[in-house]
């Protein structure tokens, strides 16, 4: 019997984070495929996915060799650094301080860059292959970190979190195949906001566990952390929006 209360939140974090990263990778792979040919672009992306899966398969089980308390401190702190970085950026984007991620503009930029290399010859195109490989690997490494980090919270979480990430990649790839254009309508910043809250909460909880903190309510305190980070993030959005508006009036 699956304990959804235990595996649900890490799966959700892995799924949503993977959607964000897959959408970003898809934009570049589409630009590469449309300008230089689909065969090489798809092969580059597929090769990177194989490397990423191998990373998860090697690094995931290797974590069990580290003593639990030390693992909780390391993974918790890294999750805090990663999750709060995402959350901060999502707050700044939601409040208008930073521009939202524009997939259509990124697609145009990469299309122009690919066209600048000249026409692709027959057979395998190394430019397309390496560009698709690099972007998929680059975005995928963030997913690998999230999958491994959220899996470190308990035994048996690696496979469900990995499956959630793979499901997200499949969904995005299928949508890409169907619409053949960047997925600009995916609410990327909202997803980043939610993932930032999830990862910051897991990070605080696990780092605390490793440090010997007695959490009130034990595991249930994760819910309080989720609510707390969500409230702080929403207040920050309002504060930053006000600050940006005042700055605009002054200038």
């Amino acid at each position: 019997m699956l304990n959804w209360g235990l595996i649900g939140p890490p799966m959700l974090a892995a799924f949503l984070a993977s959607i964000v990263e897959a959408v970003e990778a898809l934009t570049v792979v589409l630009a590469v495929g449309a300008t230089r040919g689909w065969k090489s672009a798809a092969a580059g992306a597929a090769l990177a996915l194989v490397v990423l899966l191998a990373l998860v398969a090697i690094l995931g089980p290797a974590l069990s060799l580290i003593p639990l308390k030390l693992l909780q401190i390391i993974v918790g702190t890294l999750l805090l650094l990663f999750g709060m970085r995402w959350l901060r950026k999502a707050i700044l984007r939601a409040s208008g301080v930073l521009a939202l991620h524009d997939e259509a503009a990124i697609y145009q930029t990469h299309t122009a860059a690919m066209q600048a290399h000249g026409a692709a010859g027959g057979g395998w195109d190394t430019i397309a292959l390496s560009t698709a490989f690099q972007i998929t690997l680059l975005e995928g490494v963030e997913v690998v970190f999230i999958v491994i980090a959220v899996s470190a919270g308990g035994p048996g979480l690696l496979i469900p979190a990995s499956l959630a990430a793979v499901a997200a990649v499949v969904v995005v790839a299928l949508l890409g195949l169907i619409v053949h254009q960047p997925l600009s309508r995916v609410p990327e910043n909202t997803l980043k906001f939610v993932v930032g809250i999830l990862l910051s909460s897991f990070g605080a909880f696990w780092a605390g566990e490793g440090l010997g903190v007695d959490w009130p309510g034990d595991d249930w305190s994760i819910l309080a952390l989720l609510a707390g980070f969500a409230a702080v993030a929403l207040v920050s959005v309002a504060g930053c929006r006000g600050m940006a508006a005042r700055k605009a009036v002054r200038s």
């Binding site: 401190i73 918790g76 702190t77 890294l78 805090l80 650094l81 990663f82 709060m84 970085r85 959350l87 901060r88 950026k89 707050i91 700044l92 409040s95 301080v97 680059l138 490494v141 963030e142 970190f145 910051s200 605080a204 780092a207 605390g208 440090l211 010997g212 903190v213 007695d214 959490w215 009130p216 305190s221 952390l225 707390g228 980070f229 702080v232 993030a233 207040v235 920050s236 504060g239 930053c240 600050m243 940006a244 700055k247």
Partner: protein
């Protein structure tokens, strides 16, 4: 060498965007570790202290960036 440096930069970039922000998070974790280890009477409050510290760091950093 430049390839290795690029990989290293990418790896660091996963966790560090704003140096002061990242440093403050690590300092907060270290402070809570010190409290949990040496001020044992404060141990029940270490969880809330950790959260409040992290929340303050997040708000301050976001507002500081918005003010720039």
């Amino acid at each position: 060498m430049s390839g290795l440096k690029r990989i290293l930069d990418e790896a660091v970039g996963l966790f560090v965007d704003d140096g002061a922000f990242a440093l403050a998070i690590v300092v907060c974790v270290v402070v809570v570790w010190a409290l949990a280890a040496w001020a044992t009477q404060l141990r029940p409050y270490c969880g809330p202290i950790l959260f409040v510290g992290l929340a303050a760091i997040l708000v301050e950093s976001a507002l500081r960036r918005a003010r720039k």
